[in-house]
């Protein structure tokens, strides 16, 4: 790991000033930054430790909305009783992510800044070509081992999968990220690679995430996160789905539905085609399974990741039908 200067910020203002320094990177839980510095992917000149800033870790939940401070840690949000009852998919996405130790370290702001687990991105010593690391250098994954790579939102520049769970639930429920001067939808905060794979987030030098805000809804209250993976725990998703459901008074007609996907796309992926196809329809196994396949419209595989195109709709359908059973 290349050495760096270390600064400790004790206020948001100080963090913003320092974040604008050339080569500065923010350190919260450290689970991404220290890891990537060891891989030689992140080479900060200055590390700005924001983890000592007070007043940024509150978890404030009402039926109307949840406001979660950027330094709230994953474990605390997952175990929060109000998050569990009013936003169950958020809690489930969190406790199924990483390990207990990592969840104690990682903050919700840092979680949004998590980088891809693409093995080519993480291995600059052996793979020079990576448009995410070195724009214009090419993509080692295309033509390489692609079992974990994305099938949605890919480009000729990059097929790296967005690895996180939490943001998938956030995107499903229209959460916003608060950057101080501006707020934007979490869905818009993440950028698909296009021709600029190096830009993963809509965040500018000097901006610091201060909070996440999630609007409350009936669909958020009746929600779940299903994660399918190679091993049962402590593993990234092969495919995952955050789903929320609201039924009409008849108990079987779908009034509102939210569907977002993880493990298959280059960013947390909202599946609006599935939602649109199901609104006003009966909650029926065949209808749900058929509509779930719409999530894969435009999917592009690179060989070994083709299975995700079959798997993801099944995960969506399972999540929707599971919610239907828990009336």
């Amino acid at each position: 790991m290349r050495d760096f200067s270390y600064l400790r910020a004790d206020s948001i203002e100080a963090a913003r000033n320092a974040a604008a320094l050339p080569g500065a990177m923010l350190l919260a839980g450290g689970t991404t930054l220290v890891d990537l510095a060891k891989c030689g992917v992140a080479e900060p000149a200055t590390v700005i430790d924001i983890s000592h800033i007070e007043g940024l870790s509150a978890i404030d939940v009402t039926a109307d909305r949840a406001i979660i401070g950027a330094l709230a840690r994953m474990s605390h949000i997952a175990d929060n009783p109000q998050v569990k009852s009013l936003f169950p998919a958020v809690s489930e996405a969190l406790w199924q992510a990483a390990s207990a130790q990592l969840r104690n370290m990682a903050t919700i702001g840092g979680n949004l800044m998590q980088r891809t687990r693409c093995p080519y991105f993480r291995d600059p010593a052996n793979f020079h070509a990576c448009n995410k690391r070195a724009p214009g250098s090419g993509c080692s994954a295309i033509g390489g081992v692609t079992r974990g790579h994305a099938v949605l939102g890919v480009s000729e520049a990059c097929i790296a999968t967005y690895p996180g769970d939490l943001a998938v639930a956030l995107v499903a429920f229209d959460a916003e990220v608060d950057l101080g001067e501006r707020k934007l939808k979490v869905e818009d905060f993440f950028l698909a690679p296009g021709a600029t794979a190096e830009q993963e987030h809509d965040i500018r030098p000097g901006e610091v995430i201060t909070a996440i805000e999630i609007p409350g809804s009936a669909a958020a209250r009746r929600s779940t996160y299903i994660k399918v993976r190679d091993r049962q725990s402590y593993e990234f998703a092969a495919a995952s789905a955050a789903v929320g459901l609201e039924l009409e008074g008849d108990g079987r007609t779908i009034r509102d539905i939210r569907v977002a996907l993880g493990g298959v796309a280059t960013k947390p992926w909202r599946a609006r085609a599935v939602e649109d196809a199901l609104k006003g329809k009966a909650l029926d196994g065949d209808i749900v399974r058929k509509a779930s396949e719409l999530a894969m419209e435009g999917a592009v595989h690179h060989g070994a990741n083709q299975y995700k195109i079959a798997l993801a709709p099944r995960v969506i359908a399972r999540a929707i039908l599971k919610l239907g059973e828990t009336a």
């Binding site: 200067s5 890891d35 104690n104």
Partner: protein
């Protein structure tokens, strides 16, 4: 407030606001890393250290303070061998910068037994259940188990397996590890 870069002992203006704990000198646009003077509280004892900013808590413990009970397995946050407690919560020392935990209470495997050598209930249960083979992952397993029980995540074997998933055991001692955590959780509950 504008940020300015200075040479000398401070990087950011205005330092008089006390916004920064700045242990580094700088030389213009590329601040040069130097050593930090740190005070770490480990197992209730204060330790003074002069280290580079990049030094992890794991390396500080093992290489500088010779507290080698905390193990280095993967050194990239994937195995759990380096699990320690910071303010009573389990974390990975390999992904924690030593500088970051100044002012926080750190507990390692060396700090678990009583002053008189009486083993912690989890340590005793690991012995009784033979919850290890080579023993390399054991300090991390035990530190993780102590926290797992304290968090209230040891209510069933299924829950123990889920919440101990961050500690890998290459010998595959998992059934006995689950038994040890179950036993210790029961003892601590009564």
């Amino acid at each position: 407030m504008t940020s300015q870069i200075h040479t000398g002992q401070t990087i950011i203006d205005p330092p008089e606001d006390g916004h920064f704990r700045n242990g580094t000198a700088s030389n213009g646009l590329a601040p040069s890393p130097t050593t930090l003077s740190l005070h770490l509280t480990i197992n209730g004892r204060d330790h003074a250290l002069e280290i580079e900013p990049r030094v992890t808590l794991l390396d500080a413990l093992r290489e500088r303070l010779h507290l080698t009970g905390t193990k280095k397995g993967c050194d990239q946050g994937q195995c759990g061998a380096c699990t320690v407690h910071v303010n009573g919560e389990r974390v990975l020392a390999c992904l924690t910068l030593a500088a970051q935990v100044e002012g926080r209470e750190i507990t390692t495997i060396e700090g678990l037994a009583g002053e008189d050598g009486t083993l912690n209930a989890v340590q005793a249960a690991f012995l009784e259940q033979d919850a290890f083979q080579c023993g390399y992952c054991t300090p991390g397993q035990i530190m993780s188990a102590v926290a797992c029980i304290r968090e209230g995540h040891a209510g069933s074997d299924k829950e123990i397996r889920e919440y101990m998933a961050g500690n890998l055991c290459r010998c595959g001692a998992y059934p006995n590890i689950v038994a040890a955590v179950r036993q210790a959780a029961q003892e601590l509950r009564t």
